[in-house]
């Protein structure tokens, strides 16, 4: 006998609204229908205003990768007007991007562990994440919506004292992340629960064009920081972290390993601050009638902004393609044929951000 189960829009696994209509045969999912659009806010239309205000608006698309969104927007607008940002601003942006990846991955790992019932480790993840948020408050003045990027550079400088604090932070964070890594990778229970669940083969990943840790978990070395370097990634070489198995375990392990990569990049950036000049802001020019697009590696994958200007202070068009939008088609083939108990785990390892999905 076939039954239909509504998985969502209100479900404890995801905080945000997404609906899966599951056709069940006993415990096995036979068919799955994905429905999104519950929190569509029409932000792309709202972008057609003063380009200086757009940087603050772009942060509000996603609550987790705010810095990536505003950096991508600013880079796209700077591209249309042919503006080169000062080197110091580029270094500060890179540090902030990696800090944000750190806190986003800690959140994603924590939520994955919570979905399999490991609440204690979830708390530990959030305890570590709190240090990153404190560091954000220290450097930018805000915990979540930083508001540090504007078209032409950044508004807050990282002085020598702050650089010293960042170095100390890196030491503390690396120690804590090592503890976390030991706890997760050596745990027999977590491995048994996640290995072999929701396997995405390399061919399927390439066919569906999934991005970010989902692609890298399926042995597709696709990382925008390596493929098409932006801000300072021309100098700081990033090697994509890949796992071969393509299951929930691989996707989580990619995130755990990327924590150390981020800490390493921050460590490489801090000495560059000393001889980067004092300017953090270049005065923006008038907007020409040009178009430009940028790609940024957000914690969840590739983030794409298309900007088109008209000869005015207002933008003509902004198109946003977020990383969850790229990963969305990957949900359905993995859920088909899996157990009902695995549906939450499979979707949460994609780290879905429905605020990004619907915009």
């Amino acid at each position: 006998m076939k039954t239909t189960i509504q998985f969502g829009p209100q479900h404890p696994v995801w905080v945000e609204p997404l609906r899966l209509k599951l056709t069940m045969d006993g415990e096995i999912v036979k068919d799955c229908e994905l429905e999104a659009g519950f929190c569509h806010r029409g932000l792309e239309k709202k972008f057609e205003w003063d380009y200086n205000k757009g940087a603050y608006l772009s942060e509000r698309i996603c609550g987790i990768c705010t810095q990536h969104h505003s950096t991508c927007y600013c880079t796209a607008v700077e591209g249309t007007m042919g503006l080169e940002i000062p080197r110091r601003a580029a270094v500060i942006r890179t540090i902030m991007l990696e800090l944000e990846r750190l806190h986003s991955h800690l959140l994603a790992i924590g939520l994955t562990l919570e979905s399999i019932g490991f609440e204690n480790l979830f708390m530990l993840c959030f305890r570590n994440r709190e240090i990153v948020l404190d560091m954000f408050e220290r450097t930018t003045g805000n915990r979540v919506l930083h508001g540090i990027n504007i078209v032409g550079g950044v508004i807050r400088n990282i002085g020598p004292e702050m650089a010293k604090e960042l170095e100390d932070f890196c030491d503390i964070m690396e120690k804590r992340c090592l503890d976390l890594k030991d706890m997760i990778l050596k745990s027999y229970t977590i491995r048994e629960r996640m290995q072999g669940v929701g396997v995405m083969s390399e061919q399927l990943a390439r066919d569906l064009c999934v991005v970010g840790p989902v692609a890298r978990g399926s042995n597709v070395p696709y990382d925008i920081r390596a493929v098409a370097p932006y801000v300072l990634y021309n100098e700081i070489k990033v090697k994509p972290i890949v796992e071969t198995s393509g299951d929930c375990w691989a996707r989580s392990v990619v995130r755990v390993r990327e924590l150390f990569q981020s800490i390493d990049i921050i460590r490489q950036c801090i000495p560059l601050l000393a001889d980067a000049g004092e300017d953090i802001f270049a005065k923006s020019k008038t907007l020409p009638e040009k178009e430009y697009f940028t790609r940024v590696e957000a914690p969840r994958g590739e983030l794409f902004y298309y900007a088109k200007g008209k000869k005015s202070k207002e933008m003509d068009r902004i198109k946003v393609r977020t990383s969850t939008y790229g990963n969305g088609p990957g949900f359905v083939p993995l859920i088909k044929g899996s157990h009902l108990a695995d549906v939450g785990l499979i979707t949460i390892t994609f780290d879905p951000c429905i605020g990004c999905f619907d915009r």
Partner: protein
């Protein structure tokens, strides 16, 4: 097993990780961004902050020479502080407590260099001079017309 015992011992001795909130108040870091304050003695009522505000929480009333700041609508981005030509806006470092009121703040502008105020004072001076004139010269009906003109100019500006 030994590791678990060591951890248990450590946790028994160590202090709690969370802070004892109502008794030990939250200590913010220097440079955090909170709401903004307007300096009425410096503001020139140019309206740049109103135009630049992404949350549209600053309203400049030029006729009343007043700034209306909607505290609960503000997103604390600090962009108005950047664009202000006379540094009349400063950002506070203490968070606003949750409130049932809207916390709208009105600031009266008293800067004499503000163009709007300059114009008003000039108009008042002209009015005063015109009022003194009839006592000496005695030309009655011309004054009210002159007064009206000034008023019209003020409202159109």
């Amino acid at each position: 097993m030994l590791k678990i015992l060591a951890n248990i011992g450590k946790n028994l001795i160590s202090k709690p990780y969370t802070s004892n909130y109502p008794f030990t108040p939250y200590q913010h870091f220097p440079g955090v961004r909170a709401d903004v304050t307007f300096d009425g003695t410096k503001c020139i009522l140019c309206g740049l902050c109103q135009r630049s505000c992404p949350a549209e929480c600053i309203l400049i009333h030029k006729e009343q020479e007043q700034i209306e700041y909607l505290n609960t609508q503000c997103i604390r981005c600090g962009y108005c502080v950047r664009v202000c030509p006379t540094n009349a806006i400063s950002q506070n470092e203490v968070y606003t407590k949750p409130s049932r009121q809207r916390l709208t703040v009105y600031t009266k502008v008293t800067n004499e260099n503000a163009p709007v105020i300059k114009k008003r004072m000039a108009a008042e001076a002209a009015k005063k001079a015109a009022a003194e004139k009839p006592a000496t010269a005695g030309t009655g009906p011309a004054k009210p017309a002159g007064e009206k003109k000034v008023d019209e100019k003020k409202t159109s500006a």
